[in-house]
């Protein structure tokens, strides 16, 4: 089996080597662009020995053949590390002069090698009428500096687009245009591409010819970059600069050396600057979906769902891959919303992005690892990815399927209590989102928006309250004052009343009416105390009399005498007694009252 494989490989190798040996290349080499009045060379080369006189040149229509064909052949044999390789080349060269401006075709030339005919490809040559330089004739042949005019060496920053959406990319190349021989290029300053994300591109470093402003230049690419604007609006790319050293050959017309003449080589250094370029970065059209995150391009998504049944506290992951072309490097991971009891860890991003001169393409894979903490069935919503397609100028949304996960008990889970959407793990409850509170649904109660304060009604109420207060105060205070006056008068007139009553008692005594006398005496005594100390007669006892008198610093002997008069009068009122008793009691009472009066006043 192995030997067969080896044999096959050998065969393939042999065949390919034979084929490469047999391959004869016959090519034409002519500039694609030239100017009228400028002779140019056309070379037909073959890398094998052609048969004699088998080369047939095409008719160079539109061109004058100035010279040719001149044939040059070369043969070389190389030994490298003991291996021999031979090469042969044969070149037929013509020098042509374009007759007029226009597009011309150099028809295929044919040649026969080892009996086989080969022909070159058609070659298009564009001939333009170059602008005449007014300065050419005025140039001093002597001054090498003036040999190279300002237009002879140019630095241009070329961009593939000047108007694009944010996130799209454009190609910018810094190209040196020259009509002189360039020796050296140095001090290349690439402008800062502020507002852009930039990435250098690899490019073929071959010079070519290009027409610019009606003249033909040799062009050399200095650098090529892929730029992607990161902000909208007008962005100016500032100038790039470099310095070149050009070779100038000055013919002295044999002034120094009359025999050979003399050609002198000078070096001229020029500092070049490119024009600043303005890039118009367009705003995205209106109507962007809420989950649009600035993705621009053309994408597709694929995804890998986690297992539909997992054990709690075990990890699983959800994978989503976005592939396509666009600003892949600036994509943000689409949002995966998991129930609260799921712990979502940092999203892993794996990208496979290629940068080419048309933009970036490839794929990005986002992996969302998570751990389910609670047991139960959970439905997980779709993950949406929204992008803007600049070609169709539309937003497109891609989404995954919603899915459900059943989390099984692993036997150890404590099963944290879940209340609605909130899961409490011993910490404080988190506020997940906010929204306005619900409307009021209670009945429509009429309220007037009128304020009450400082209105006439308010003042009316205040005045009413104050007048009630004033009226009440006046009434109450008057009553109290009156009350006080009565007492004071009574107290003032206490002894007078007593005297008046004693007089009435005296009259009764003279009339010999004992009963009336003692009655009047008692009334005088009780009344005196009652008026004096503002105590109702009904509340008076001998005890209270003693107390009241004692409180007013009346000697207890006097108080005792007073009480004795009362006792004697009470006894005598109903019992017969001596004649002289009435006058005794009478004088004693007058004396006691006057003494009490004295001691109270004191």
């Amino acid at each position: 089996m192995k030997s067969i494989l080896r044999l096959t490989l050998l065969c393939i190798a042999l065949l390919s080597s034979v084929a490469s040996w047999a391959q004869v290349s016959f090519t034409v080499n002519a500039p694609a662009l030239t100017a009228t009045g400028q002779p140019f060379r056309v070379e037909f080369s073959v890398d094998a020995e052609p048969e004699q006189n088998s080369f047939k040149a095409p008719s160079f229509e539109g061109f004058d053949v100035l010279a040719g064909p001149s044939v040059s052949t070369g043969h070389s044999i190389q030994f490298i590390n003991g291996r021999q390789s031979a090469s042969y080349s044969c070149t037929y060269t013509y020098v042509l002069l374009p007759n007029s401006a226009g597009k011309f075709t150099i028809e295929p030339a044919t040649i026969t090698v080892e009996g086989k005919n080969y022909s070159t490809k058609r070659q298009l040559v564009e001939v333009i009428a170059e602008k005449e330089e007014a300065t050419t004739t005025n140039r001093s042949r002597k001054n090498p500096e003036s040999q190279i005019s300002k237009d002879d060496i140019l630095l241009r920053l070329k961009v593939s687009e000047t108007s694009l959406y944010k996130g799209e990319s454009l190609r910018a190349s810094l190209v040196l245009y020259t009509r002189a021989n360039i020796d050296n290029v140095e001090d290349v300053t690439i402008p800062p591409f502020d507002g852009f994300w930039s990435q250098e591109l690899t490019f073929e470093n071959t010079p070519s010819r290009e027409e610019y402003n009606g003249r033909i230049y040799e062009t050399y690419k200095i650098t090529e970059l892929l730029l992607s604007p990161q902000q909208s609006g007008k962005i100016v790319i500032p100038e790039a600069s470099l310095s070149v050293r050009a070779q100038v050959i000055v013919n002295d017309n044999g002034r120094h050396d009359p025999f050979f003449g003399r050609r002198q080589i000078y070096h001229v250094t020029r500092n070049l600057k490119s024009e600043p370029i303005t890039i118009n970065v367009k705003e995205f059209p209106a109507g962007a979906p809420a989950n649009f995150n600035g993705a621009v391009g053309n994408y597709t998504i694929s995804y890998k769902l986690p297992e539909s049944e997992i054990v709690s506290n075990s990890a699983d992951q959800f994978e989503i891959t976005i592939s396509g072309s666009g600003n892949l490097k600036f994509l943000t991971a689409p949002k995966l919303s998991l129930p609260e009891s799921f712990e979502l860890y940092d999203t892993k991003v794996v990208d496979n992005i290629k940068v080419s001169d048309t933009g970036t393409s490839g794929s990005i894979t986002y992996t969302y690892p998570f751990v389910a903490r609670s047991v139960g069935d959970f439905s997980i919503g779709a993950v949406e990815f929204c992008y803007f397609n600049p070609e169709t100028q539309q937003y497109k949304s891609l989404s995954t399927e919603p899915f459900t996960i059943t989390v099984l008990d692993d036997g150890t889970s404590s099963n944290a209590p879940i209340v609605g959407n909130y899961t409490n793990y011993g910490g404080t409850m988190r506020q997940l989102d906010r929204d306005i509170r619900f409307i009021h649904t209670a009945g429509l109660s009429a309220t007037t928006g009128e304020t009450f304060v400082l209105t006439p009604i308010f003042w009316l109420v205040v005045v009413a309250m104050l007048s009630i207060f004033a009226a009440t105060y006046v009434t109450l205070s008057k009553r109290i004052r009156d009350n006080r006056n009565v007492v004071a008068r009574r107290m003032k007139h206490a002894d007078k009343m007593a005297v008046k009553r004693l007089r009435m008692a005296e009259r009764s005594m003279k009339e010999g009416n004992r009963h009336a006398f003692f009655e009047e005496m008692l009334r005088a005594m009780w009344g005196y105390i009652s008026d004096k100390f503002n105590i109702p007669v009904s509340n008076l006892t001998k005890e209270t009399i003693r107390e009241e008198l004692y409180r007013r610093n009346v000697s207890s002997a006097l108080a005792e005498q007073f009480c004795e008069i009362i006792s004697r009068s009470e006894e005598a009122q109903y019992a017969p007694s001596a004649e002289g008793e009435m006058s005794d009691v009478y004088t004693l009472a007058i004396e006691v009252i006057s003494r009490i009066e004295e001691s109270i006043k004191r």
């Binding site: 400082l454 009413a464 309250m465």
Partner: protein, 274 residues
């Protein structure tokens, strides 16, 4: 004493009758308003916010609106704008209308916590500037003032005035020294409270009467010019729902002042007074 009471009773009755809401529009408008109220709530619950806005607006047009109607109308506007799927959220100026109506609800009842919460949430969607920070005392005063309505403060102050007068009476007429002392200090404290609550009531009333606040109503943002001339410099671009103060009007233009003190001119049609 009895004669005084006899005098005051009819007076009080008159006062009560005048304070009681006067329904000049009659029972007809009230029943229509009640039907619209039920209709609006039903529409809101079934997430038909356009109909809810219409129903609550009609109650406002009938002049039967209370703070709850404004609050519900604001909520309906907010939800309508939030759920506008065809265009951007609040693409037709719903946020501005919601904020306007929250302010109107709060004007009628500054103590309406729900309206204040929702207003705060709605204002988060605008580009309103931070107001100049007020002093601690001003903040305290305003939060105290807004914890009740003007009428609430008035009634509280009148009740305290009554209590104070009774205590003053005791102080004046009592002969008991301890009672007199207690009455004196308590009535003094009540006097301070009466003055405070009355000031709160007046302040609250003035805040309503001298309310020159307006809300910017537009679809997105609207330019504010340096002078009443659309060719003049644009100094700011407030979004819908930004609350500003109207200083004066001049033709079709209004001079407005932002919360941070900056002034500018805006077309009258772009703002609505609260």
């Amino acid at each position: 004493m009895k004669s005084i009471l006899n005098h005051i009773t009819p007076l009080l009755l008159v006062v009560v009758a005048m304070v009681m809401p006067q329904k000049s529009s009659g029972a007809d408008a009230t029943t229509t308003a009640e039907a619209l109220w039920a209709e609006g709530i039903e529409a809101y619950e079934s997430k038909d916010y356009t109909s809810a806005v219409e129903a609550f607006s009609q109650i406002v047009n009938l002049g039967e609106a209370n703070e709850d109607v404004y609050y519900n109308l604001a909520n309906a506007y907010f939800k309508l704008g939030q759920h506008a799927t065809t265009t951007r959220p609040f693409g037709s100026g719903e946020l501005g209308r919601a904020i306007l109506n929250y302010h109107r609800a709060l004007r009628l009842n500054p103590a309406m916590a729900d309206a204040r919460y929702n207003l705060e949430l709605a204002v988060d969607h605008t580009n309103d500037t931070e107001s100049v920070p007020k002093s601690f005392i001003a903040v305290l005063w305003h939060s105290l003032r807004d914890s009740a309505t003007s009428n609430g403060w008035t009634i509280a102050s009148l009740v305290m005035l009554g209590a104070m007068l009774i205590l003053v009476m005791f102080y004046l007429l009592s002969t008991h020294i301890v009672l007199r002392k207690v009455c004196f200090f308590v009535s003094f404290a009540l006097l301070v409270s009466v003055i405070t609550t009355l000031s709160l009531a007046i302040s609250s009333r003035n805040a309503v009467l001298n309310d020159n606040r307006a809300v910017v109503l537009c679809n997105d943002t609207t330019p504010v010019h340096a002078s009443p001339d659309s060719a003049s410099k644009i100094i700011r671009q407030p979004s819908q729902g930004v609350t500003i103060f109207v200083e004066r009007t001049h033709g079709d233009w209004a001079e407005i002042r932002f919360a941070d003190g900056e002034k500018g001119w805006i077309p009258n049609s772009r703002i609505e007074l609260i």
